[in-house]
């Protein structure tokens, strides 16, 4: 047996022994995702067991180095792990901005102390992070952000306001863009980390159209941030921010994939609409739309695989995450449009038990943000046209 085959059979056995049956059910709503953090009281026993088992092995972050809490797997082994997890339909053990955004940025720009301090806690789901980028007057034009950080010798004094900070009210720490030089737009921004319990930090949840309130306004009033929490160089935070955004876009693009296995959209449509005497969905136009959607989503699954393979081999264009983000999120929005169309009035119930508290409708509404968060579709298209297609500037 080759090393990879040995690894596969060992992985298969380990997953079999350690992945609880409840964690092999498809994710049915946003609430099924596990985010870790200091307060783990909301987790079910199965969720906690699964997160802890994977975290202890470093398999929440299979390709990070072992010394930072990762699995130390090669690209080929990580792929085997993904395949074996998909085979038993294992849920993602931990959703985390630490894993998908901050981690890669720290691995590239962090000091040894910063890596040793933060990465293992991210891997084990002990600390939950949030992202302090956007401000009321800095959305797509992020570099115009104004939250200030004054140099006070051993610390920065941070003042200002962030907005759209996802889960700020649940987060333990924040990675935050602050202005350290008012005279220079892009080269006056720094990237800092701080504990959300630091005096002067407060959050105010914002209710979404979905009725969920996953994000907040976040206020900083004379917040003291130790100097050693600066990531990268002073005034060079934009580089870190952009690098991180690439990873954020890559993560968001996965939405286009939906779950593994059979598309629940199809079962939903069959249940409400039924099949005709030829065994075809009795609404031929909807059937055609679903079928075309299936073509695109299967093709996009191949593209995601290709993108990851290229990324791991260092062959992907640095702006390619923008393409993935754009396509994946537009696809995910169309998936949820089709889910709503398939479910009919059943899916319109907002609070009933059978609709699991209105999950289909709320999830559908939530997906409308996919093409806004992490940089809008328009901004991704700007990036593709300028950086990949090299079209001229205005």
């Amino acid at each position: 047996m080759s090393d990879l085959e040995t690894f596969r059979s060992e992985t298969r056995a380990w997953l079999e022994a350690n992945c609880p049956p409840e964690m092999r059910e498809p994710i049915r709503s946003e609430k099924d995702s596990v985010w870790g953090g200091r307060d783990q009281s909301a987790m079910t026993p199965a969720q906690k067991q699964w997160m802890d088992a994977m975290g202890a092995k470093g398999w929440t972050v299979p390709d990070w180095p072992k010394e930072y809490g990762g699995g130390g797997l090669s690209a080929a082994e990580a792929k085997v792990l993904r395949e074996e997890m998909a085979r038993i339909r294992a849920r993602n053990p931990l959703s985390s901005f630490g894993i998908s955004m901050l981690g890669p940025a720290l691995l590239k720009y962090g000091t040894e102390e910063q890596k040793k301090e933060h990465l293992p806690k991210i891997a084990r789901g002990e600390i939950r992070w949030c992202q302090g980028y956007s401000e009321p007057n800095a959305g797509s034009d992020l570099a115009s952000l104004a939250t200030s950080a004054e140099d006070k010798g051993d610390h920065f004094l941070v003042n200002g306001q962030k907005v759209w900070t996802s889960y700020a009210n649940y987060a333990d720490w924040i990675f935050c863009l602050v202005r350290t030089d008012k005279t220079n737009k892009h080269n006056g921004i720094s990237f800092v980390l701080f504990d959300m319990q630091t005096p002067g930090v407060s959050t105010k949840p914002i209710l979404l159209i979905s009725g969920y309130s996953p994000f907040c306004e976040t206020f900083f009033d004379n917040v003291k941030v130790p100097k050693e929490n600066l990531v990268g160089e002073l005034n060079k935070g934009w580089d870190v921010a952009k690098y991180l955004l690439g990873h954020e876009r890559e993560m968001i693009s996965n939405m286009g994939l939906g779950g593994g296995g059979k598309n629940p959209l199809i079962d939903g449509a069959i249940a409400t609409i039924g099949l005709d005497h030829d065994g075809r969905l009795a609404d031929p136009l909807l059937r055609a739309k679903i079928a075309e959607f299936e073509v695109r989503s299967k093709a996009f699954a191949a593209q995601s695989e290709r993108f990851i393979d290229e990324l791991k081999a260092g062959r992907a264009h640095p702006a390619q995450p923008s393409m993935m983000k754009y396509y994946g999120t537009e696809l995910n929005k169309s998936r949820h449009e089709l889910i709503m169309a398939s479910g009919g009035s059943d899916n319109l119930e907002w609070e009933s038990e059978r609709s699991r508290g209105g999950a289909p409708a709320r999830d559908w509404l939530r997906t409308k943000a996919n093409s806004i968060e992490g940089g809008t579709s328009e901004v991704q298209l700007n990036i593709i046209s300028k950086r990949i297609l090299e079209l001229p500037g205005a």
Partner: protein, 375 residues
């Protein structure tokens, strides 16, 4: 296996890219069209394909081929597509070779194919749209069969050295069983091929089979069990058509993006207008997704994976959607010049339409996936 070309495949692609662009650029096809050539391709070019080793890509080394796979065949097909090069490569070196592999027909036909001397045609379609059903009759007669019926959309059918024909030896049109595949030599009595020029200037024949007598050894595979070689042929042909179509879409996209980087209106390059940039970036995204779908299908085919069949339908449908967008945006973004015969972009539109129909269009393959998924 990572989902990108390995070093050997990249080398082959570079070789094929240079060779096809040099030996058969779009102007080659234009010349054939303008001279009202009656073959539909250049025999001389086919010989050059053989000299490059391309014709034997899928032929095993025991028959003098390279023994490579669908990824490699696709690499060549993409360049054929990019240059709109008229060639029997897809039908002969890919689809026919796959159908004949491992049968006694390999002995007879592979040497000529590898040498660039033999051309095959595929007589499968019985109507204007590809369907899985087969009505054409093959009745037992003497120690062989007698073929009666008609086929259409047979590329190179009028000049091919042999024609692969699907016919019914038992059962009704829609039955899976009862289909037999035959290799019929071009001089068979009672077979008449009338070539018609298509939109893209290629030639495809309508073929009448008027009691054509063939020996029992004309059967490919087994009598009544022709679905097996036929499915092999179709899987290879579809993956190949998807690869060629990908080349058509990529060629049109490159030409279009090149154009909007140079064309000035309102005192500025039109490529700086966001309305065009966003559409170009969207097109790029669709083409990337289509490219991944094609490579995935080819790799699964090469691995003999049972998920290959569905992946091939995804690839054929996805390239159909993406390249259609590419050629349509191509004309639109070129503006008036895009409508002129003198400019090449229109050729891409025509070629895309032909390849889109070949072996089932995007709707056909989406429907196939839907049926397999039970809805």
């Amino acid at each position: 296996m990572p989902l990108f070309l390995n070093d050997d495949q990249t080398m082959l692609r570079d070789t094929a890219r240079d060779f096809v662009a040099d030996a058969a650029p779009v102007s080659h096809m234009r010349k054939l069209r303008d001279s009202k050539d009656e073959t539909g391709f250049s025999r001389d070019l086919w010989k050059q394909f053989a000299d490059m080793g391309f014709t034997g890509i899928l032929v095993g080394e025991d028959h003098g081929g390279l023994g490579l796979g669908h990824v490699e065949a696709g690499v060549v097909l993409e360049e054929i597509g990019r240059n709109l090069s008229p060639s029997p490569f897809l039908q002969t070196a890919v689809a026919a070779v796959e159908a004949l592999k491992g049968t006694p027909h390999a002995e007879r036909w592979f040497p000529g194919i590898v040498a660039g001397e033999t051309v095959a045609a595929l007589a499968l379609d019985e109507g204007a749209k590809f369907r899985a059903s087969v009505s054409m009759k093959a009745e037992r007669s003497g120690n062989g069969f007698k073929l009666t019926g008609a086929k259409q959309f047979v590329h190179h059918g009028h000049v091919a050295d042999f024609v692969i024909v699907s016919a019914r030896t038992a059962g009704a049109a829609d039955d899976q069983d009862g289909v037999t595949l035959f290799a019929v030599p071009k001089d068979a009595a009672g077979m008449t091929a009338r070539a018609e020029r298509l939109t893209d200037a290629s030639l495809a024949a309508r073929i009448e089979f008027d009691g054509v007598e063939v020996d029992a050894d004309a059967v490919i595979g087994e009598v009544d069990a022709g679905r097996k070689p036929l499915d092999r042929l179709l899987r290879a042909g579809r993956a190949g058509a998807a690869a060629e179509m990908l080349g058509v879409g990529a060629g049109a996209m490159d030409m279009t993006i090149g154009y909007i980087k140079e064309r000035k209106q309102f005192g500025t390059l039109i490529g700086s207008f966001q309305a065009l940039q966003h559409r170009a970036a969207h097109l790029y995204s669709e083409m990337e997704v289509a490219r991944a779908a094609v490579l995935k299908a080819q790799q699964l085919l090469d691995a003999g994976d049972d998920k290959a069949d569905a992946a091939v339908s995804v690839a054929k449908a996805m390239t159909g959607l993406a390249t259609m967008l590419s050629v349509q945006e191509g004309i639109q973004m070129h503006g008036g010049i895009g409508m002129t015969d003198e400019y090449d972009i229109g050729f891409y539109m025509k070629r895309q339409r032909v390849l889109a129909e070949l072996f089932g269009d995007a709707n056909y393959h989406a429907d196939r996936l839907a049926q397999a998924a039970g809805y």
